[in-house]
Amino acid sequence: MNLTLKIWRQKGPQEKGKMVDYKVSDISEHMSFLEMMDVLNEQLVNSGEEPVAFDHDCREGICGMCSLHINGEAHGPDRGITTCQLHMRMFKDGETITIEPWRAKAFPVIKDLVVDRTAFERIQQAGGYISVNTSGNTQDANAIPISKHAADEAMDAAACIGCGACVASCKNSSAMLFVGAKVSQFALLPQGQVEAVDRVKNMVAQMDLEGFGNCTNTGACEVECPKEISLENIARMNRELVKASLIKF
């Protein structure tokens, strides 16, 4: 395939960026989107230009590093996948593909397509943990009875890889799907009850502090999330916050 790429180039966090056009040719439709980006970068390096910076690590859909807003959608047009799992067969020969970084005030651009997602880390640190006795007398988690239903739902919530596609897709740059998943994963399990009240309060407070927007339930996040995290997790977080605020205000 031959493609025209419109890519956001920005030298650094303070620099002004702009969209730049590139051409790539002989792209195999079996390639992943990131492999196509590798081809472009090889081309740029060979011609003495600065390669396009983009995030990636595992390249198998589990780390959450790869990002990219492709043709107006987070992780491109396919569903339930990350950009490293996106295949070039989703595009047509001769197509123009627009590639932008995640856009959110809370995710500032570091360089080109790389954004700073440490806001998510700070939200996690505010409450996304449980206290476990590590003195050698740790109770076997399997000894605590948990219903199948709760275990399944907690597992689904825990599938969130913190990629930020929810924020990128949301018209409000809201992080509520991410935070909802992180709150739910513990709220559903007995191990999460000890810190339940402080967890939801602190994580929501940190989320607000980072400058993410308010959810208006458009559901865009759920559609674009590579792990298909359900909006029910946002509803659960809302309930958890009401509960926590009634218990401790």
Binding site: W8, H69, G72, K105, S173, G213, N217, T218, E224, I234
Partner: protein, 225 residues
Amino acid sequence: MSGFFNSSIGRKYAMALSAFFLIIFLVIHLAVNITSLFSEDLFNQLSHFMGTNPLIQFAMQPVLIFGVVFHFIMGFVLELKNKGSRNVKYAKNNGSANSTWMSRNMIYSGLVILAFIVLHFIDFWIPELNTKYVQGDMSGMLAGEEGFRYFEELQHKFVEPWRVGAYIVAFILLALHLLHGFTSAFQSVGATMGRKKTMKNIGKAYSILIPLGFIVIALFHHFNH
């Protein structure tokens, strides 16, 4: 709880509560108005009751006004905050790939409804206040004639086509506002029932039937006076 209502989620909660209130109000309002289609008498009596009952006038009405004002001011506040959360826009954004038009344009459907509410106040509410509390005529009677004034006034308002047109446009926008808003409000208060099929269908039925009812009333009086 003060911390709660200052949080992003608390604000959404308050937004949804005011919306639920408006949803219930619309049912009552339509129930009263719909009687004007088949019984001039019943409509007059209900209007007189609503317009003179102290509990409704001095308890429910202020709550309603507060509910409406709170809803749109909070709507603006949230919209501004949300716009500010993305300081650089996407060059290309395919919103329709993952969300409905209604959900992305609540502020615009809301603004049209707000403009309508202003017109509606000028049409009915301010003249009511003037008659009742400025001129002190609490009788609800027609000046110099027999019978109640409410039905006459209602018919009179829908003579001009532009006004009927404005009402119809506003109610279509209200339907669009509710097609997202109804189930969204459940989600905001953490009730997942809003995502169940039955509730979605109830939401659709409500969002279409209520505005349609008001449209029918406006058209009926336009063609029958």
